[in-house]
Every structure is written in C-alpha cells, then in structure tokens.
C-alpha cells in the first residue's frame, strides 16, 4: 500500500507533472521506451482503487486520444478512435495513462529491435536489448517511470522483457482479460497482461482488468478454485538443454530456494517440449497472415501516393508499410494455410497443441506449479552481436508452452549477474494466478528486487 501512496501523487499538480517529466526524460534519452509520452494533468483528483497511479500502455493496445502504431510505419500517425477494455477498466479505477511504449513491429520479435519507429534499450545496460515484444513497457517499469505497464503476450512477449529488465511479468489465463483493443497478431494465443515493479502491483492490476467482456466473445468469467496450497508442490524440469551458465545457475538456485521456502520440489518431464516452437510458429503465423490482412492503406494508415488502381495502392502500402520480420511471418502463415498443405502444417500444429494441453493437464495433477526459465540467456546485445532472428525463435521454447496451453505464467526476478538481471517463470493451471503471486512473493522475500543504475524514488516523495 505504501508503494501506491508514493505513486498516487506524482501527477497531482503541474509542478509534480514537471518533475515527473524531468525524471522520465532523463531516462528516455538513454532507453527510448516510449513512442508517445504525455502525462495528463487531472482536472480533479482521480478516484478509485488505483487513483492517480500512472501507467504505460504498449502501443498495440488502443487508448482513445493516443496513437496506435504497433511500432510499424504502416500505422505511424494513426490515432485510436476507441479504448481497449483493459485500459478502460484501469482508467475507471483511477489510474492514468502517461503514454504508449515501444514494441517489436506488431509484437513480432524478442528484442523490440524490429520496431520501425524507435530504438529501445535495456535500462541496466543500453548496449543490451530490453527484450520483446513488450520491451518498451518493461524498460519503462524497470527505470521507475511507471510502477506498471500493460503489455501483450503471444509467445512470451511480456515475460521475456520482464526477465531481461529485472521486473515481474504476468501472462494471464487465456480469456481472463479481454482482448478488445489489443491489435491482433495471433488471436488464439495472446492476451493482455501486466509488467510491474512488484507482485502487489501485478496482482492489483490483474484484479482490475480481468473478467468477462461482452465485446470479446473469447473472454470468460474468472472462476479460480480459490485454493492456494500452503506448501505448494513445485515441478522443475529434468534435463533442460541449451541454457546459458547464468540461467542454469539461477534455475538451480531457485529450486534450492524453493525447498528452503517450504515448497515440495520434484523433477518432472515435459514430453511435448520439442514440438512447442514449430507448433507455435505455425499457428501464430497462420493467424497473423489473416489478422494483418486488414492493413491495406485504404481506410487508415500508410497510403502511397500516385497509384493507378486499388491493387497498386494495397501492394504499395503493404510493401512499404511492413518490415522484414512481419513480411516473413505473413508469408509463412499464408504458406501453412494453403489448401493441400493445411493437414501437413496447420492441422498438425493444432493436434500438437492439444497434446501439449493434455501433457500439462496431467502434469498439474502431480504438481501445483511449474518452474521454467523464461529465455535461455540473459538480455542479449543489440544487432549483430546478439541473436539472429532464427535463434530468437528457437529461444521461445520456454515461453510458448503457456500460450499454447492457455495457462497463466509469471516471470519474476532472480537477481543479476554481470550487470544483467536474471528472470525465471512459474506456470500454473488456468485461473490459478493467485498461486503464481503467492509463490513469487515467497521468492521475493529471499531475493530482494534490484534496480538498474540511475533508478530513483526520491523525486516521488
């Protein structure tokens, strides 16, 4: 509660907004987490559970009055004519949108470097990426510009940047949070979630944004079991290969800590593990190929000049508006959906998806929580020195499982090594977010939160 008390006054007067902007701009010169930053000056003090608390929104989530660029040239300059349900619920609880954060173009990437509009760096070390695709949101929270931010997670896009920036990242149960207002990349896999500086904020925000929404037919009533085991059984996965030294050490350390924290730790196998990445990219790109078809330069967005006919206009807009990674995924998705090829790719991927769900369901009979790395490495470097797009896709193997199964997952900080934060994630059965929060709170007692150099709370007091 004292956390929010410090945050709830930062935008209460023009003076305060000025010092807020001073702090934020100081960071922004180095990390570039925002595509648009314009904190409001409330006419009257806001009311509600999150009254006055500033937050940032990933720029693929609609907020009326703000841009909705998705980090793409295609939509640069597009003002959103409406507000996403999750944002509206936060606003109704008194929270204040201060701006829109950078992302990989249309959420397609793990570094935020595929954004066509700005470059975002990791607050811990600007030679490192912030992760992605919700890299802007994670960087803004880690830098202490906002206590929480909304992101979206299609295959790890909340958890991985949260881990890279040393904060918390919640990917909720599929359908628990309305997708209305989230620009679709892979509709059946993704959802809106939260990156936050504390478990407390993640929980409070989740409680506000969750729940059925008549504007999203895939949203569901939130019905948790209400039971949180006092001594949870934690599954750690046997024989995980390809981890960097620091992540392997963090994973072992977390398992040891868990025993010390009174959890029952056991080793488990993930039988479907080898299939998750191909299944994920088949389904995600298939859906993306249809979801991104609407961007044709006719009703809004980039419109090339001097075209002779509608076909030229559409081709020109898509050719110039989309970046390489987006084009690659649209092509891949179009390919796997071709008639005659669906059985080999799309249908088979759906079967694998069902197998993964069943695998996890069986697993959650034996354990209450599953501990996994988020990413095989800590934050990598920008550009050539980092990972190739293909290596990045392979590295999604730890995160996409939760998306394919529709279950909740929370990444949490596990200290740092060599100036880069480390993060791990916990997975739970659908609607058991509270289990994740409780476990993360236990770990937080043993591993204090670290901040990047330059982080300050003084300006807030």
């Amino acid at each position: 509660m004292n956390h929010s008390a410090r945050w709830s006054n930062v935008l209460l007067s023009p003076d305060r907004t000025e010092s807020y902007l001073d702090y934020a701009r100081g960071w922004e010169k180095r990390i570039g987490s925002f595509l648009e930053l314009s904190p409001p000056v409330p006419a009257s003090p806001p009311r509600g559970d999150l009254a006055g608390i500033p937050f940032a929104v990933k720029d693929n989530i609609a907020v009326e009055g703000f841009n909705l660029t998705c980090g793409s040239k295609m939509l640069a300059g597009l003002k959103s004519p409406y507000t996403a349900t999750a944002v509206r619920r936060l606003q109704e609880a008194g929270a204040l949108v201060v701006g829109k954060t950078n992302l990989d173009e249309f959420g397609m990437g793990s570094s935020t470097d595929t954004s066509a509009l700005a470059r975002t760096s990791n607050p811990w070390d600007t030679s490192l990426v912030a992760g992605g695709s919700s890299g802007g949101s994670a960087a803004a929270v880690a830098a202490g510009i906002v206590p929480f931010a909304l992101g979206s997670d299609t295959g790890g896009s909340i958890r991985q940047p949260a881990a890279f920036c040393g904060i918390y990242g919640l990917k909720p149960t599929y359908g628990a949070v309305s997708r209305y207002g989230l620009v679709a990349y892979a509709s059946s896999l993704e959802g809106i979630g939260v990156v936050a500086e504390s478990v407390g904020f993640a929980r409070r925000v989740f409680e506000v944004i969750r729940g059925i929404d008549p504007l999203d037919h895939s949203s569901v009533e939130y019905l948790p079991s209400g039971q949180t085991p006092p001594r949870p059984r934690l599954g750690v996965v046997r024989g995980l290969a390809g981890l960097s030294g620091e992540i392997e050490r963090a994973y072992r350390r977390a398992a040891d800590l868990a025993r010390g924290l009174g959890m029952e730790v056991s080793e488990v196998d993930l039988k479907t593990f080898d299939y998750v990445v191909p299944a994920y990219y088949t389904i995600a790109t298939a859906e993306a190929s249809a979801n991104l078809a609407r961007f044709n330069g006719i009703r809004y967005g980039l419109r090339p000049e001097g075209t002779e006919n509608p076909e030229q206009l559409v081709k020109g807009a898509r050719n110039r508006g989309f970046g390489d990674e987006v084009k690659l995924r649209i092509l891949l998705g179009t390919y796997v959906l071709r008639s005659g090829f669906q059985d080999r790719y799309y249908v088979r991927a759906q079967k694998i998806r069902t197998a993964i769900r069943n695998d996890l369901q069986a697993l959650f009979g034996a354990v209450d929580l599953l501990l996994l790395p988020v990413f095989p490495t800590a934050a990598f470097k920008h550009g050539e020195a980092g990972l190739t797009p293909f290596q990045q896709k392979l590295a999604d193997r730890f995160t996409v499982t939760a998306n394919l199964a529709g279950i909740p997952a929370l990444s949490f900080p596990m200290g740092s090594e060599a100036g880069a934060p480390l993060g791990l994630q916990l997975l739970a059965p659908a609607f058991e977010e509270e289990r994740l929060f409780r476990a993360a709170e236990s770990f937080a007692e043993a591993v204090p939160l670290e901040h990047p150099p330059g982080y300050s709370e003084e300006w807030r007091s």
Partner: protein
C-alpha cells in the same frame, strides 16, 4: 437428348436491426459510410460480437428448410483481398454451418418433387466499390450486414423449375420475416451451377452463372445455358469449367475473365468467435419464429374456407395478405366474399393508389365491417364499392361513411310505404295498369322510387310494398 443438373446458391440479406458482428444499423440507402464503426471498418484491435437476431434468423431458415441444425456452428475466416472487404477476410462458415441436409418438397410444374438442401450458412456481406471516372469510391455501410447462403443439391432440370423453386423460396423467407426478397435491389441474390450430360452419365463440367437479378432472368439464363452446353456436346466440343455472367440486354451468358488458377481462400476457424452452441432457450426462440409456411397455409385455407385455386394462390402469396384475410374472416366476414374483394376491388384500389395493403387505410376491421354491412343488406353492392372508394380517400370506418352520406339502405317499411304512395300518386296511369292485372309497369315504378332515393331504397322491399298497395286498393 441430354440431362441437365442445376443447383442454386442463394444469398439472403437478413432483416436484422444491426449488423452481424457490430452494433451498427443494418440499413440500406443511407449516406455512404454513415453506418460504420471501428469493428465493421476493420480497425486494428476490434473484435466481432455475434448478433443474436442474426443467428436466430439463420437457424430459423435452416429449420424451415428441414435441415439438421448444428449443435456447434463454427465460424471461419475466408481469406481474400478486395478493397470493399475491410478485414480482407470474410467471417463465414465452412466445415460446420448452421444447417445441413435439408429439403423442400414442392410442385415443380405439375409434379411433386423434393429439392435437397446441402447447407445453410451465415456470413458477413462486404461493402460496395463504385468506379466513377478515374477514381474508385468505397461505401462500407453494407460491410458486416448479415448474409445467409443457401445451397441446393443440383437436382433441378430446367429454368422453369429453378424459377419455381426461387419463387417458393422467396415467399418462404418473406413469411419468416427474415428478408424482403427484393431481387432487383439485391436483398435476395441467386447464382446457379449448371452441368449437362447424357442421361445416366452423371454430372458434366460445372459452369457457374452469376448476375441474374430476377427469377425470370434465372429461368431465361438457365434455359440459354442448358441449350448452349447441349449444343457444344452435340458438336463434340468440350464444356469449359468456368463462371459466366447473364447479360440481360443480349439474353445470353458470357464467359467472365477466366482465372488462371482456382481461388484458395485458406479457410481456418475464426479464433475471435467460439463455436455457437444453441441452448434450449435459443431453440425455443427459433421455434417461436417458425410460422405456418406458405404450402401448409395454402392447404389449410382451401380446407377451412373452400377457396378456389387461383383465389388461394393470391391470398397466400404474401403473408401479410393471408393474415389480413384470416383476420377479416375472424371478424365475421364471409371468407369467399373477403377473398373475392381482396382479389378485385381492393387490389385495384391498392394499385391505383400505389400502396401496400398494410400501409393502406383499409384494415381487417374495416373490410369486415363493409362486408357485414353488405351481407346484412344494410347497403347493397354498388354502394359497397363506393364506400370502399371513400374509405381509401378519407380513411374512415364504413359505418361512419354510410351515416355521413346517408347511404344506408332504406329498409323501414313505413318510409318505403310513403315513397310508394307518392309514386302511385304521381303515376296514375301506370298504377291503374297494375291494378288491372298488368305487371309490366312494376319495374318502372320501382325504378322511379330508386331514382328518388338515389338508389338507397331496398329494391325487393319496394317491389313487395308496391304490389301490396296496388292489390289492396283493388
């Protein structure tokens, strides 16, 4: 000789208040791009929400066509790029549509036949692109309005049969109140597939025919196409599998620009809409909408009221007309009189005024009132026709009209006796003739009395009083 196989693909624009996946008004003829919102304009981040009225109507049509109703109707994305399609995919159905394996039994030119219905599926319509000189204009008012597609098996054999089926179908959707059935304006659209082969050889090459904007054009286009394909086969020439357009000005079908390869729509299940699973309350709503269909009503009206074949066809052609008829009868009118008036004088006045029965001043209450006045002898036929004219002109009840104009028949014996006496006094010679036993001038005297009362006097009564008077005084 050859055998022809014709199947129809009918698109029905449903009469819902709002569009199928958003809250915009589903109306036609408004200013371009006024009935639009982020959802039907395909803005980023929006999601479709299924309109209950549209899915009820879809199941209703499937039910009326005796289909197996889907317990889990799946929406799918049909992907293709066209500027009038905002999302560049259409939400449609493929693997698990609303209804399947239905049938219609109907009279096809003398014989009772069964037309199997392959499927009924719900989808969204596209907008409209208009080319004006060197610019293309787009109107998205129609984008996202609900469209129902009905596909028959290819069992029709002649253009006339297709026309009869279409007329039957049009009447059915109008009865169900789900479509206005206007083919000229495109609220009911029909494409056909035609293949011709030697008897017993199965289907030949399939040719799609589009652009038939009336049931008459469907008949003509199919007759032309069957003859064209038969001619090709006669000459041993192959029939190309293609899409052809009906040219109503030249009375022939023309090949559309042929595509090098078949369209690949890359269908896959719509992740934004879970399969629709009708529950008991929903199915009850569907049953409530299932009105008595035209064929059943025809049989009942003949049995119950003894209407003749032409009369009953006219009455049942429109549900509103049949309802009007039955209400009029329920209010006490003679059924045959009601049917005959609706088919003659009422129809003539509606045509003259250019209005629909439902919008006219005539109500079942008023028609029944008029027919009861006529049957009870308070007015006679000629006056009744005049009352109907006045009713259309002034919108008043028949009772009011005859009172205001004093058109009620004179049936008071005393008053008639007085008129008879006056006529006798004025026509001594004729009276004397009658008294002498010559009945010839009776007609003349009755005519004089009718003239004096502008036709209001009841002629039979006048005649009998007259005879009585002249007999007595003998």
């Amino acid at each position: 000789m050859y055998q022809a196989f014709v199947g129809l693909e009918i698109h029905v624009q449903l009469l819902t208040k709002s569009k199928v996946f958003c809250g915009c008004r589903a109306a036609f003829g408004d200013e371009p791009n006024t009935n639009v919102c982020p959802v039907c304009m395909g803005y980023p981040g929006v999601l479709p929400t299924l309109n209950r009225q549209a899915i009820v109507q879809a199941y209703l049509v499937a039910r009326a066509l005796d289909c197996e109703l889907s317990e889990s109707a799946v929406f799918e994305r049909k992907n293709y790029f066209y500027p009038d399609l905002p999302k560049n995919y259409q939400i449609s159905q493929l693997g698990s549509p609303v209804g399947r394996n239905g049938r219609v039994d109907l009279d096809l030119g003398g014989s009772r036949r069964r037309v199997p219905i392959r499927e009924v599926h719900l989808e969204e319509d596209a907008g409209k692109m208009i080319h004006a000189g060197d610019v293309s204009l787009l109107d998205y008012n129609r984008a996202g309005t609900p469209l129902l597609e009905i596909v028959t098996e290819p069992v029709l054999e002649r253009g006339e049969e297709a026309e009869l089926f279409l007329q039957y179908f049009r009447r059915m959707v109008r009865y169900l109140g789900v479509c206005d059935g206007n083919m000229e304006e495109g609220s009911l659209r029909c494409d056909a597939n035609v293949s011709v082969n030697r008897p017993g050889k199965g289907l030949g090459s399939k040719v799609e025919i589009k652009n038939m904007n009336s049931s008459r054009f469907v008949k003509k286009a199919l007759a032309f196409e069957i003859a064209r394909q038969s001619g090709l086969l006669d000459r041993g020439a192959p029939v190309a599998q293609e899409t052809r357009l009906w040219n109503e000005n030249r009375d022939l079908t023309e090949a559309m620009r042929s595509k090098e390869e078949a369209d690949d729509y890359r269908y896959f299940p719509e992740p934004d809409l879970p399969p629709f699973k009708p529950d008991a309350a929903f199915l009850l709503d569907v049953e409530k909408g299932l009105v008595e269909l035209p064929s059943a009503r025809r049989e009942r009206l003949v049995a119950e009221y003894g209407l003749g074949p032409d009369q009953v066809d006219f009455i049942i052609d429109e549900k509103s007309r049949a309802d009007f008829f039955e209400r009029t009868v329920a209010l006490g009118a003679d059924p045959l009189a009601a049917a005959s008036w609706l088919g003659s004088d009422v129809k003539r006045l509606l045509n003259r005024e250019g209005v629909e029965l439902a919008e006219s001043p005539l109500t079942p209450e008023r028609l029944a009132g008029l027919l009861v006045l006529l049957a009870s002898g308070r007015i006679h036929g000629k006056i009744a026709k005049q009352v109907l004219e006045v009713l259309f002109a002034e919108g008043k009840d028949p009772e009011t009209i005859i009172r205001e104009r004093a058109w009620e028949q004179l049936i008071d014996a005393g008053a008639i006796a007085k008129l008879v006496d006056e006529a006798i006094d004025a026509n001594e010679k004729a009276a004397a003739q009658i008294r002498a036993g010559d009945e010839k001038p009776v007609g003349f005297l009755v005519g004089e009395i009718m003239k004096a009362t502008s036709g209001r006097a009841e002629p039979q009564l006048v005649r009998s009083v007259l005879k009585e008077r002249l007999a007595k005084s003998r």
